[in-house]
Subunit: 157 residues, 2 copies
DNA sequence: TTGGGTGCAAAGGCTTTGCATGTGA
DNA sequence: TCACATGCAAAGCCTTTGCACCCAA
């Protein structure tokens, strides 16, 4: 995917960073993985397949850098691991993040877009005089597949 | 506050735990602190004032235990520290947590109650067939005091 | 009395840092 | 060329664990 590579190169250059294979590889790893919620270790493993010489320290340094530039988002799903995902909005600081649905049974993470919190934020702004500029929402529950599975188990009993 | 102590003793006993001075002290520390979002280290320091012999390991073991029993809530405000707060709902698992307003300037944390997310959850349930049983909401922005401060600074310029 | 609880110190796991070497602009 | 980036290993930090002693029930 050369066009993706070009996009990454441009993003790096725009932010005054050198374009190195390691940085491209890490961005590609984050872009390519289907679940897209990788830990530092997972990114490391993923990149090593292609570039076995990369060091774990480079992964940590790079994700920190990319997170500061808002090219990637830090994520804490409550399982004790810090995770990262590509921020496709790029550097638009005003864009609200998408939200996460975390299945308590299988641990899968769904995402959804939408600013359905706007009325909530408005109310808070009025009631507490607290100016909301960003939010993070995690919803815990059971995904469709797990609900079906649980239903079947129940029926067998 | 002997009546609080009694409440804590009852809570511990109800959950099959021995009542020790350390456990009471830790619950009291969490109850008494005004901001109520303490790290393990802060709990340790707080309890040590009263009971200098307590060990940090006991604090970690106790908060883990109390969190499992839903007597306290684990909190991650995104500053890299795991924090804990008393869960006043007690053991009512169905009760939704309150939400947190985190000031990006001073770092203070306000809380607010209310289930204004219910319509949101309903929509998700319908659209994605994901059954939401709990949620965690963090709102980032600027508190009243900091907004005033920033306003004054602006006016001086 | 006795099994759970505690304190201490050591061990673990994740992340950061120092330093010499490598490399993109 | 040369400042920035990397790899490696060591160091840091927070948290957990092993073990002997202690104490609430």
């Amino acid at each position: 995917m050369p066009e993706k590579q070009d996009r990454f190169k441009t993003l790096l250059k725009q932010n005054g960073l050198k374009v190195t294979t390691q940085r491209i590889d890490i961005l590609e790893a984050l872009e390519s993985r289907p679940d897209k919620h990788l830990t530092a270790e997972e990114i490391y493993e993923c990149v090593k397949e292609k570039n076995p010489d990369i060091g774990l320290a480079t992964v940590y340094r790079t994700i920190q850098l990319l997170a500061e530039l808002n090219l990637i988002d830090k994520l804490n799903l409550g399982d004790g691991f810090v995770r990262y995902e590509i921020n496709n909005q790029g550097c638009d600081v005003t864009a609200h993040h998408h939200h996460h649905l975390i299945c308590l049974n299988c641990g899968n993470v769904l995402t959804f877009q939408g600013d359905l919190l706007e009325t909530l934020e408005q109310k808070i702004q009025e009631a507490l005089e607290f100016e909301v500029v960003d939010h993070e929402v995690k919803l815990f529950g059971y995904c469709k597949a797990c609900r079906l599975e649980m239903q079947e188990k129940k029926n067998k009993e």
